[in-house]
Amino acid sequence: MTSLQLVFLLIAAGTVFAALMVVLSKHLVHAALWLILVLAGIAVLFVLLNAGFLAVVQVAVYIDAIAILIIIVVMLTQRAMGPTKMHVNRNWGVALLTAIVLFAGLLALFNQMPALQSQAPPFALDAEILLDDLGLSLVDTDRYIIPFEVASVLLLAALIGSIMIAWPRGSASEEERET
């Protein structure tokens, strides 16, 4: 067991535990926080996988934007969902079963696929070149510019959509409250 593997195991265990806590914790706020922990764990994993850029992006995008947004919304809707209520719905058993079945299926799948048995990382890579290559590939017309553009359009649409949905003026509840 090299030190790196040890580190990996530690982080992985921590993240998994955090993930479990996200799912199981009663207080929504705690769940949000555990989520942030999971995200941080994954960022570290990215570092382990030599994908430094992705790690930083993970932190910047997830932790700073999405997690905070979630926390904000949690705060907004805190009043309604007191901790006392049942936090798991009726057929959680089925959900659990599905998750486990899926997990078993995935494992079985992995055993069958030969490519997954590779032990060692195939190539040493230079971070710099990699980052340039990634940047170029995103805008290279015969590589991945289309997904890149589509993603940008998607973000724009999401932006406008969420604004429209959450726009306070004109929304029924505003009028309800005022009237």
């Binding site: 706020v29 930083v56 910047a60 926390i71 710099e128």
Partner: protein, 405 residues
């Protein structure tokens, strides 16, 4: 390795590694300890420096406000900050009931961590940087964002409506100002062709980026001040506002941490501005004598810090809606425009091999002119509207007294 004046840090590093290896540690462990020690030294240096920063700021602001400032404790009040620190440390750490313990205690840590974390990537001298990662700029931004998270947690977990409200407003401000800051940040990245701080500083060997893109530098500087929540944009925890913003429920050392984090953050952004736009440790002879580079870096940073304090002392506070509209209606479009202009200019420079400085400066000035005309027409329209309003109000009064013809 003999002591070499022009490369003292490397020499020191080598000497220290030799020392450890003699102790018989494994190379990995040596590497680990070395980085750990390095990080420790950098962190404490930053925190210790804060004391002097606070003192300097209080002195300067006082001078601006035509008063003496702290002069009792130690010569020129130099130890005033230590006294305050001592006071804070001795205060009782009160935890409000119903507060969410974990996030409540985690918040101050995150705040300080986010500020100190930035220093890891700032290149102090030609070969002296925390860690030269190729996504340095992005790292700095994201670590800064973690600070927002800390504030959020503080506000949320202190079971206090006002704290929550204050936290919301702070987060809103920081999040919204992050956008123009990052966009303006991209300009030097564009110019340098890489996100690594070291590469950016080296790229400014010929021209400092402030020379090439002053407008982008200005946008970056103002939005980062807003990001910190100081000076004109510090209404969040201003006295006349809602109590003390998110750190109401904090006392003692936790409050101290927030306090330190805030001041250090101001110094950090000035360091960032210095590295990105003022060439960091660039200066005559810096590459031969790294120590000289270090000196240049600190001079530039303090200069920028001085400007920050200067602004804090002289500008009136900005209202919340003005701040937001300023950001979304002015800074973000300008930042985007600046980024596009610079990209076009850069392309022209490489295509037609024109003089780099002239082209960039020209594009910046052009952008500046465009913005000015837009602002002037907007202002004139508003003024005419105001007069129209006033006119109507005035003839309303005269009208009521006279009978309409």
């Amino acid at each position: 390795m003999p002591f070499d004046i022009n490369d003292p840090f490397v020499w020191f590093g080598e000497w220290f590694r030799g020392l450890l290896e003699n102790l018989g540690l494994a190379p990995g462990a040596v590497e680990f300890i070395q980085t750990l020690l390095g990080a420790f030294v950098l962190g404490t240096a930053a925190l210790v420096a804060t004391f002097f920063l606070i003192w300097a700021e209080r002195k300067l602001v006082a001078r601006i406000q035509d008063r003496l400032g702290p002069n009792r404790v130690g010569p020129y009040g130099i130890f005033q900050t230590f006294a305050d620190a001592l006071k804070l440390v001795t205060k009782e750490l009160i935890t409000p009931t119903g507060a969410d313990i974990v996030p409540y205690n985690l918040a101050p840590l995150l705040a300080v961590m986010s500020v100190v974390g930035v220093w890891a990537v700032i290149p102090l001298a030609p070969r002296l940087t925390g860690s030269d990662i190729n996504v340095g700029v992005l790292y700095a931004v994201s670590i800064g964002a973690v600070g927002t998270l800390g504030i959020m947690l503080a506000g949320m977990s202190s079971n206090n409506k006002y704290a929550l409200l204050g936290a919301f407003r702070t987060v809103a401000q920081m999040l919204s100002y992050a956008v123009p800051m990052v966009l303006a940040l991209l300009v030097p990245v564009l110019l340098a062709g890489s996100m690594g701080m070291v590469q950016i500083t080296e790229a400014q060997h010929a021209y400092w980026f402030i020379v090439l893109t002053p407008f982008a530098a200005l946008i970056f500087f103002i939005s980062s001040i807003a990001e910190v929540g100081r000076a004109p944009f510090d209404l969040l925890e201003a006295e006349s506002e809602i109590v003390a913003g998110f750190n109401i429920e904090y006392s003692g050392l936790r409050f101290g941490m927030f306090f330190v984090a805030e001041f250090l953050h101001a110094f950090t952004i000035s360091a960032l501005t210095a590295t990105l736009f003022l060439g960091g440790w660039q200066g005559p002879g810096a590459s031969e004598y790294p120590l000289l580079g270090l000196l240049y870096f600190f001079v530039k940073t303090t200069a920028v810090y001085f400007v920050v304090i200067w602004i804090r002392g002289s500008f009136p506070r900005v209202r919340i809606d003005q701040m937001n509209s300023l950001n979304w209606k002015l800074f973000t479009p300008i930042a985007l425009a600046a980024l596009m202009f610079t990209a076009v200019a850069e392309k022209m420079v490489t295509e037609f091999s024109l003089n780099r400085m002239l082209v960039h400066l020209g594009s910046n000035l052009l952008l500046f002119a465009i913005v000015l005309t837009a602002l002037r027409s907007y202002a004139r329209a508003r003024r005419r509207e105001q007069e129209g309003l006033a006119l109507r109000k005035s003839n309303l009064q005269t009208g009521s007294s006279q009978t309409q013809p």
